[in-house]
């Protein structure tokens, strides 16, 4: 395990690895345990069906290669920095882009692939304590989900902006728009619904 201290779990793992206190493999496993559910969540919300777990393997395979030659830079020591989480977010974004391009190509050649929307919807229902995330998934356009999901997972706005090639004010704008959209829809929810209290 990473040494205990006041740093975030990611920073503790990074420091331990930079000092040679842990091996590349064991620290990779720790990062996988730490962020595996986050990456899986990002992909499950965005990609219906079993393809999400295949894409998750892609993201971690890419990170595995990078972790072996990871550059420990001083700016990564900043309080709010989450270089690994940011790298994973960026890689998810690129992997999703490739997946969509490939799916589009296959659709045009072989017809529309059957999509297990039901499975993803069921998962969302299972895990939802409330309805907001489900609403976000249904109501928010891609560009707003691109901002909302990493924000919820703690990716710094600067890294979101960099990955999406937009400015930080645009990140903020899209985030607020997403919240407004969800708030408006929750306001319209009928009384006595799933969350009637």
């Amino acid at each position: 395990m990473a040494p205990a201290g006041d740093a975030s779990p990611e920073r503790s793992i990074l420091r331990a690895r930079a000092r040679g206190e842990v091996s590349a493999d064991s620290s990779f496993e720790e990062l996988y345990q730490l962020y595996g559910p986050t990456v899986r969540g990002w992909l499950r919300v965005r990609v219906p069906g079993p393809a999400a777990d295949d894409l998750m393997q892609d993201v971690w395979l890419i990170f595995h290669g990078r972790w072996r030659r990871w550059e420990f830079r001083p700016e990564m020591e900043a309080e709010a920095a989450r270089p690994v989480l940011s790298f994973l977010f960026r890689t998810c974004h690129f992997v999703l882009r490739g997946h969509r391009r490939r799916s589009g190509r296959e659709e045009s050649v072989e017809g529309v692939e059957a999509v297990d929307e039901g499975g993803a919807e069921r998962l969302m229902r299972e895990v939802e304590g409330g309805r907001a995330l489900g609403l976000a998934r249904r109501l928010c356009p891609e560009e707003e989900l691109d901002v909302l999901l990493p924000k919820l997972a703690g990716v710094p706005a600067r890294e979101i902006a960099r990955t999406l090639a937009i400015s930080e004010p645009v990140v903020d704008h899209r985030f607020r728009n997403a919240l407004a959209r969800i708030r408006k829809s929750l306001g319209r929810a009928p009384k006595g619904g799933k969350r009637g209290h």
């Binding site: 969540g41 998962l123 939802e128 969800i182």
Partner: protein, 207 residues
């Protein structure tokens, strides 16, 4: 806004619940035994996308300092030309192998330095008269073509073994045998190495 704070709190709690649920049956990141996972076409595409992203992030500043020397022999423009020449070479190799053809040339690596310095020197000479915008465009165009190829090619073409012109032993008769996927990964490592150095160089200049 107070309602937004409440909503955000709710969303954050839901996200945490989702992560908890997904952590319970988190799959092993790869099979414990057996051969390493093949790098999927999507993963190859994503790594080329990262290269393009890194290239995009240095383009503007690199254009301002293109005439600066990065080594005793090469300017930054020469180094960008080097990246563009290799982008064309890698794409050409992949397309040639995918089409079932072979190569009538070799690119021997000099044994005492990193990289094939004769090939690099010739390519640098060819790129010197080329305007910088064309060099930048060449790199992006060729890398995007490679992205299209990795998504188009069937798995046997992507992972099958073939002979490439690279001759890392220095002997032109001993050419590299590997797959298109390996060549693409090699390009990514090559490009990210140089782009990282360019980024550091530019940071030092603009500090």
């Amino acid at each position: 806004m107070a309602t937004d704070r409440v909503l955000l709190k709710g969303l954050t709690a839901e996200w945490a619940a989702l992560e908890d649920r997904l952590a319970r049956d988190l799959p092993s990141w790869r099979p414990a035994a057996g051969p390493p996972l093949p790098v999927s076409p999507v993963a190859l595409f994503a790594q080329l996308e990262e290269v393009l992203d890194a290239f995009g992030s240095i383009k503007e500043a690199a254009s301002r300092h293109a005439g600066r020397y990065v080594t005793s022999a090469w300017t930054l423009k020469d180094l960008l030309g080097h990246l563009a020449s290799w982008a064309t070479e890698f794409r050409h190799e992949v397309q040639t192998v995918a089409g079932g053809a072979g190569f009538d040339y070799a690119i021997p690596f000099a044994l005492n330095v990193i990289g094939p310095n004769e090939w690099n020197a010739r390519a640098a000479e060819r790129q010197r008269p080329v305007p910088l915008p064309d060099i930048l465009e060449q790199f992006e165009r060729e890398t995007r073509r490679l992205q299209e190829l990795v998504l188009e090619l069937p798995p046997p073409a992507l992972y099958g073994e073939a002979e490439f012109p690279l001759a890392p032993s220095g002997d032109p008769r001993q050419r590299f045998r590997g797959s298109i996927a390996m060549i693409v990964l090699g390009k990514c490592v090559h490009d990210l190495y140089h782009l990282g150095n360019i980024r550091d160089f530019l940071r030092r200049l603009e500090r």
